[in-house]
């Protein structure tokens, strides 16, 4: 009887020991994983993206014209301009400015800035 009781007690003790870690270790491990993930990830990924943009701005501060390439990265701007030219020909319709660009010479009178007389547009030659 004592032997049987000892076996029952030993079995219960083993079961209790084996269940307790089974219940707690995964929870602990999960907590540790979450903690690691939280620490390993950037706290604010969007802020890091903003930082990389700030680096680009620094390039601009150097006074170098990087925006042409950036526009190609943006990819659409120049293409859009071409599309706009096709959709809206400013030489035929001076009121059609598109993209916020100025009206080309010859399509509208020069600005009334008191530099030009009689509103005559400059004549231009380029080679």
């Amino acid at each position: 009887m004592k032997y049987a009781l000892a076996i029952v007690l030993a079995g219960g003790a083993l079961a209790a020991v084996s269940e307790a870690p089974a219940a707690t270790v995964p929870a602990t491990a999960h907590a540790v994983d979450l903690d690691r993930e939280t620490k390993s990830r950037p706290a604010h990924p969007l802020l890091l993206l903003a930082d990389s943009d700030a680096d680009d701005d620094d390039d601009h501060d150097d006074g170098r014209w990087f925006s042409w390439n950036e526009d190609h990265d943006d990819d659409d701007d120049d293409d859009d301009d071409d599309d706009d030219r096709q959709a809206c020909d400013r030489m035929k319709d001076p009121s059609c400015r598109g993209q916020g660009n100025p009206a080309p010479a010859g399509t509208v009178a020069p600005p009334n800035n008191n530099l030009f007389t009689n509103g005559t547009a400059p004549a231009v030659k380029s080679n």
Binding site: G63, N69, G100, V108, P110, P111, F116, V124, S126
Partner: protein, 156 residues
């Protein structure tokens, strides 16, 4: 007959001073061989106090690049209406731009200054590439640019 003559005399007296206030001016800009794409150029004038008086020409039609003409952009806030009707193509390296325009006589020998800002794709911006006083004596005298412009001359 006397009435006609009187009318002619009166109209001549009214018109002549206006004609005297303008003079045809030719600006010639020669670009150096800087080895890059076409240059954007902003030609503008400041008054004797250094304040922006107005633009004479914009070489380069896409306003999104005007921020690189930084002094012009500061003076105008990038307002494209300042160059409506006086905008043409950018100017390639080694090429020249010749502009002929009727300019107000009052701009000369009165403390006004002609400025040129220049910018080229993937190269350094060059605000105030040239600043030259508008004087009668300065006519025909080429002035060298700092980076992209070999020289600029204006003649009457």
């Amino acid at each position: 007959m006397k009435r006609i003559i009187a009318t002619l005399a009166l109209t001549t007296a009214l018109i002549a001073p206006g004609l005297a206030l303008a003079r045809p001016v030719t600006l010639t800009v020669n670009l150096s061989q800087y080895g890059g794409q076409g240059a954007y150029l902003a030609l503008y004038v400041t008054d004797p106090s250094g304040a922006y008086a107005g633009s004479l020409w914009m070489a380069g039609g896409k306003s999104k690049y005007y921020k690189h003409l930084s002094d012009w952009a500061k003076f105008t806030g990038g307002d494209v209406s300042q160059v409506d009707g006086i905008t043409g193509a950018s100017v390639g390296a080694g090429r020249n731009l010749e502009l002929t325009m009727d300019l107000a006589d009052a701009l000369f020998d009165a403390g006004y200054t002609l400025h040129v800002d220049a910018a080229v794709e993937d190269m350094r911006d060059s605000p105030n590439e040239i600043a030259m006083p508008l004087t009668s004596e300065g006519a025909g005298q080429p002035v060298r640019g700092r980076r992209y412009i070999a020289d600029l001359t204006y003649t009457f």
